[in-house]
């Protein structure tokens, strides 16, 4: 079987999905290949644009000049985030937030975490010291410890629901059902709640958490919000599913569990990619490719003692010097130089030093992105995914 696509996106994470959606929006025939589920499923589901700073948009100017954010204009950033909001909203998972100004959410250990865009169930999750919180926990849930929160925040009350599954996933599945939710609400109604806000571990259903939260809000007559938990993270999963749904709605063909088995390329162009189905290869013809395979964790880059490899096309990579320079002394210090490793690109997101002209690169595989140091993972993925796709669409 051979098939023609205008663009094949490799990588099903935030940047790949964003790129695929952006191209489909521009009327392109797009396929998206992914080896597996992306690490965004393990995330809090919040979008960090530049969480190391208070005002992300303004602070971008101060980033090192090679940071990929400098490849895009302010308008592109706004358009990319706007498109993201629209897409997740259409999938029933509205996000709010403003790249001009970061906000905070309460974490599972009671500290504040800075982020930029949040799902509707975390809109109320910014808690200053004045706010008192009532945490609702589930007795058998193993991965959530409200005592961390109450220890750090005087005035915190905790209610514990005796029923419910032992995992976040199990609970979210239960909250999808009317039966369980009603039983839970009936119990909640009897609780004496005097605090300013009511917090839940992020398990309020995997389908329509906003509706469940609204129902609870109506009952307790206070703002209600979710606190992201250890993985499996339900908000991360919701985010991924919402974008996947959006891509599918726009006609993107998704190939999951698919690895690139072979590549056909001419002097300057990638011409076709093969997927493997058992021992047989299926060829997909293509006009352009978006590489969004992520960094080390996602498997886009792999590291040996002397070099860093890009695993699909073996594109030239940037590595910050020799092994001695890769790490800081302190493991927990943010910003190990190795984080700068990746693919260097020109202003159109094409890889530098490669003769292949129809590849466009986006997301955390980009050199100098240092997503950990600047806390810009999802934001960088969305913004460069959008920009690389726009650049790619311009060549077709």
């Amino acid at each position: 079987m051979h098939t023609d696509y205008e663009v094949i996106v490799i990588g099903g994470g935030m940047s790949g999905l964003t790129a695929a959606i952006t191209l489909a929006d521009r009327g392109k025939q797009v396929a998206l290949l992914s080896k597996g589920d992306p690490v965004c499923c393990l995330s809090t589901g919040c979008i960090d644009v530049l969480s190391a700073e208070k005002k992300p948009l303004q602070a971008i100017a101060g980033l090192p000049y090679r940071h990929p954010y400098h490849l895009v204009t302010r308008e592109t950033i706004l358009a990319a985030l706007q498109q993201f909001k629209q897409n997740v909203n259409q999938s029933g998972l509205p996000y709010s937030g403003d790249p001009e100004r970061n906000r905070t959410i309460l974490t599972a250990i009671g500290t504040d975490r800075t982020t930029c865009l949040v799902p509707e169930t975390m809109e109320q999750a910014a808690c200053d010291t004045e706010n008192t919180i009532h945490v609702v926990s589930f007795k058998r849930l193993l991965d959530f410890y409200p005592s961390y929160i109450s220890a750090g925040r005087p005035g915190t009350a905790v209610s514990t629901y005796e029923d419910g599954a032992t995992s976040t996933l199990g609970l979210a599945t239960q909250f999808n059902s009317r039966n369980f939710t009603e039983k839970f609400l009936a119990w909640l109604q009897g609780r004496p709640i005097t605090q300013d806000k009511v917090a839940f571990p992020a398990v309020l259903g995997s389908i329509s958490p906003g509706k469940v939260a609204a129902e609870i809000e109506a009952l307790v007559k206070r703002p209600v919000f979710e606190i992201p938990t250890l993985p499996p993270s339900i908000p991360g999963q919701r985010l991924f599913r919402a974008l996947k749904q959006s891509a599918r709605r726009k006609g993107v063909h998704l190939y999951w569990g698919a690895t690139v088995a072979e590549i056909k390329q001419g002097a300057t162009r990638v011409e076709a990619l093969a997927l493997s189905n058992g021992a047989r290869k299926t060829w997909l013809q293509v006009e352009a490719v978006i590489l969004a395979t992520g960094s080390f964790v996602s498997g886009g880059l792999s590291l040996s003692r002397t070099s860093v490899e890009e695993d699909v096309f073996h594109l030239p990579t940037y590595l910050p010097g020799k092994r001695d320079n890769w790490f800081n002394e302190d493991f927990f210090e943010r910003g190990h130089p190795l984080e700068k490793a990746g693919i260097e690109v020109d202003s159109s997101f094409r890889p530098l030093g490669s003769s292949l002209e129809n590849i466009f690169v986006c997301g955390s595989i980009l050199a100098y992105s240092e997503t950990n140091k600047y806390q810009c993972g999802h934001g960088l993925a969305i913004i460069t995914g959008f920009a690389a796709a726009a650049s790619c669409a311009g060549t077709l």
């Binding site: 396929a31 080896k35 996933l169 058992g278």
Partner: protein, 446 residues
């Protein structure tokens, strides 16, 4: 394709995707039952043996893993090792030999169908560990096994691996598939075949699985060497042929078979691409919830059926691949798994109903059975939709008159829908998966 279990970084993405883990707290999930436990197994240490019995082998963990680890495969091998050293339950032995059950069932169809629905018999089956929430599928005297084996003439030749479900439970649909393939200009044979071996694998019986697989491999290998392509319709058989024959079963001809076997829809797409067949699809104004069988999802090859359905003008088709139907072959037929199977079947059914479809479509007979039961609307094979559309198309052929296919369904016992003059037989073809000889009694949601 998969890498050693040591590559697992314990990220839990596989757990997030495990249907059983969602509703059954006794199952610790694929991470723990797979790579985590493997460290202990290799050390000869004892781990909870119940874990591996909860796994349905839906392979969702495998498609989720971004590092190339295959928890399903690790668990599969543990299941087989367990099966070698332990006495298997009555239901496990019965379902491993599902092929023979079908053979008896179809040979004695009129009696078997009645008897298997008697209250007493059902209680007896329950006592033997067989769940009764889903009625046993009906069998037909005129199985595919004894249908016309060779039809059509063409430069391209295909060997149709129809599998047990079509053979015994929807033979008329199987004959329609055969005739349809012929109508596209192919020469079609129905090679002698037995069960693909998956039910035996799923019930921890490697010996039986190998016996079946070797038989098939010998025949299919011979056809392939004579220039035939193997075409399958059941995605679970397909996954077994293409992945398990060269993989866990390690058959000599496994690679050859894997390279030359195609899903029906994939084969049709290839023919369209290569201009060997013009699918002149007519308009079909229907809403279709297309449930992706887990084994199609696991093939890593995209969804060819969806791409074919996309070609039908007017068809509003939505893909649903987030849920396993959780019948999982014989898994849901076992008493021990009943609760899990029912909860997940309802979840999958509800998801489909949220689209308010006219029909459910799925490539897998077991999925269709389960989803029709829980969603309470007809679940069709994709070919039934394609035929409806082709019948409405500009080049509608006499052969593929889809309206006759659907006639006689939904509790209408009068019309036998018998269209194949050469193959007159006593059973009526009824679309959908759960039809009862005596009218429809399985619908409705429970």
């Amino acid at each position: 394709m998969s890498v050693p279990f040591e590559h697992c970084i314990r990220c839990t993405l596989c757990v997030e995707n495990c249907p059983v883990f969602k509703v059954n707290e006794h199952y610790p999930g694929p991470k723990q039952a797979g790579p985590d436990a493997e460290r202990f197994r290799l050390d000869g240490q004892k781990i909870d043996e119940a874990w591996i019995k909860y796994c349905t082998q839906c392979h969702r963990c495998q498609t989720a893993c971004p590092y190339g680890v295959d928890p399903a495969q690790i668990i599969r091998r543990a299941q087989l090792a367990y099966g070698r050293t332990h006495r298997r339950s009555f239901s496990a032995v019965l379902f491993a030999n599902n092929y023979y059950l079908g053979l008896i069932g179809s040979t004695l169809a009129p009696i078997f169908n009645r008897v298997s629905r008697l209250g007493l018999v059902r209680r007896l089956m329950q006592a033997l560990g067989i769940s009764k929430y889903l009625p046993f599928p009906s069998f037909y005297l005129h199985s595919l096994r004894i249908s016309r084996k060779h039809a059509g003439q063409g430069r391209r030749k295909v060997a149709f691996f129809y599998g047990c479900f079509l053979n015994y439970n929807q033979p008329q649909l199987g004959r329609v598939m055969r005739d349809f393939l012929v109508s596209t200009g192919l020469e079609v044979v129905l090679p002698p075949q037995v069960c693909c071996g998956l039910p035996a694998l799923g019930n921890g019986d490697l010996k039986t699985a190998l016996r079946f697989a070797k038989k098939n491999a010998k025949v299919l290998g011979r056809y392939i060497e004579q220039g035939y392509d193997v075409v399958y319709a059941c995605t679970s058989c397909g996954h077994t042929l293409t992945h398990d024959y060269p993989g866990v079963l390690g058959l000599e001809k496994g690679e050859l078979i894997s390279r030359h076997s195609f899903h029906l829809a994939e084969y049709l797409l290839t023919m369209i691409d290569e201009d060997r067949w013009k699918g002149s699809f007519g308009s079909l104004r229907k809403r279709i919830a297309y449930h992706i069988p887990c084994h199609l999802r696991a093939s890593g090859n995209g969804y060819p059926t969806a791409r074919l359905l996309e070609k039908i003008p007017g068809l509003d088709c939505r893909i649903f691949d987030e849920h396993c139907c959780e019948l999982a072959g014989s898994y849901g037929f076992k008493q021990a798994n009943e609760e899990t199977s029912i909860s997940l079947g309802k979840i999958a059914g509800d998801a489909l109903l949220s689209f308010e479809p006219d029909f459910i479509v799925s490539d897998c007979g077991a999925c269709r059975m389960q989803l029709e039961h829980f969603a309470g609307i007809p679940a069709l094979d994709p070919l039934e939709i394609l035929l409806k559309s082709l019948a409405a198309g500009p080049a509608s052929t006499q052969l593929v008159n889809a309206s006759t296919i659907r006639r006689g369904s939904r509790g209408n016992t009068g019309n036998r829908g018998n269209r194949d003059g050469a193959n007159r037989h006593i059973e009526g073809y009824k679309g959908g998966a759960n039809q009862q000889p005596g009218g429809r009694s399985t619908g409705g949601r429970s």
